[in-house]
Point group: D2
Chain length 156, copies 4
Amino acid sequence: MMRAAKPVLTPHDPDFESRVRESFERQGAMKLIGASLEKVAPGEVEIYLPFREDLTQQHGFVHAGIITTVMDNACGFAAYSLMPADASVLSVEFKVNLLAPAKGEAFIARGEVIKPGRTITVCNGEVYAPGEVNKLIATMTATLIMLQGRTGIPQG
Amino acid sequence: MMRAAKPVLTPHDPDFESRVRESFERQGAMKLIGASLEKVAPGEVEIYLPFREDLTQQHGFVHAGIITTVMDNACGFAAYSLMPADASVLSVEFKVNLLAPAKGEAFIARGEVIKPGRTITVCNGEVYAPGEVNKLIATMTATLIMLQGRTGIPQG
Amino acid sequence: MMRAAKPVLTPHDPDFESRVRESFERQGAMKLIGASLEKVAPGEVEIYLPFREDLTQQHGFVHAGIITTVMDNACGFAAYSLMPADASVLSVEFKVNLLAPAKGEAFIARGEVIKPGRTITVCNGEVYAPGEVNKLIATMTATLIMLQGRTGIPQG
Amino acid sequence: MMRAAKPVLTPHDPDFESRVRESFERQGAMKLIGASLEKVAPGEVEIYLPFREDLTQQHGFVHAGIITTVMDNACGFAAYSLMPADASVLSVEFKVNLLAPAKGEAFIARGEVIKPGRTITVCNGEVYAPGEVNKLIATMTATLIMLQGRTGIPQG
């Protein structure tokens, strides 16, 4: 529906993709839940999550928190893809709407920068269950902050 | 960016537009701030707000709360446009990101249903300043609830 | 319910109260809706809003956007009260839950800093209708950013 | 800071605690991340999460999504504790602010009902790292919906 102009998404670092992939690999949580990083484009990231029983809540659907975990990553790495090579990214806050039960064999989380900024970047995310009709499961709006030279926060 | 399927937006009431416009007319707050209802389509509403000095915050931009007021209405009436004739709509919650100062001669708030539902409807909203480039000012995600036959809440 | 430690709220500027009150006075929107600034303490602000017909939505309650306007201000000025004298504050985002219809003769918006920071400050806000029982109308969580020396954003 | 009246939190079902504990036990995700259910009171729940390397993001802190997972559960079960025995609870949406890196040996997630309702319940949640000073890590506001007799959603 966006009728406002689309943002221009230009990465500061030409090696953004390898930087994003290395950062993703350092996340213990992604291995634990079995998520993999698919597409990495400037300001846009996709993550793939197969269904597993040990990801579920009490009704047998994937837990909203696990859905959030992959959406937060898709948004965070979408923001990070535009940042300088020595930057770190942290989530300041996010808001999630859960639109349908997370049923399905697999899920795709997509994150996209809607407002790049010097300090603050804002992203939209979604998770859908791919199929004949790609069923929308959840949406996110996330606010990320870029840190540079902050002690205690390694690059990534 | 949405790669999930778009929702099907079918109004329950063929007279949805006049119902939306009557409800809008009953809002004292819209008269106070000088907003007018423009487009009304199934699941989609646009509101127009000219700049006025008496809508500003301390820096001379339109107040984030006033921007929210028109976005909340655009979302609420987008949801209401799909509901039965005897229903009422109330905002359960919303989340707003303020992406740029609300500078400009006028602003357009758009609301769109992303998930229609029996009880809960979810909408996305945005406000932009129209111009050569339509500058995105703010975004909203809103959760609305439909009420029917609830005492104390008149239809609308 | 907070069992985490409370934040220490120390203003950088001993004249924080006059600075907050001057900034409030510059807001055209506050005059328009008839809101007044009551309490100003370090990291805590209260705003008073009497009911008026021209603040209402279609059901005769005060519009959620107007309720948001005073809550956003209570949060923004609570954050601003802790900042250096040459700083400006802007809302990055906020999230509002509407818990009860805004019925009553008057409303009090309170904002409180829950996490002061160098760049980012997070506040909680609420609006209630005072009475024998103070009825909770709405809650807010707001993220604010401090700007210093940014051209185009006057102090305040 | 809440000066509005506190809600009265009365469980519909005297066996609420065993019902909450059984539902928690059915969550594969809780076993996966090693979380345990501690306190269950009417409208209030605490969950304990020890630090593990396989819960981390790229900087070595516990992933914001995992922190969200336990907060979402604390809120969801706090809401569920007040509901009738044949009800199910689902998260409609939540909003998370990440206030400090999730460093520490363990974390406690607390959820509390701030507005019980027939259909919609609103909760506040927080995660803190217990210590000499209990360090606040994150906060949540969550909107939950009660379902009764909905096919496809088992009780819990």
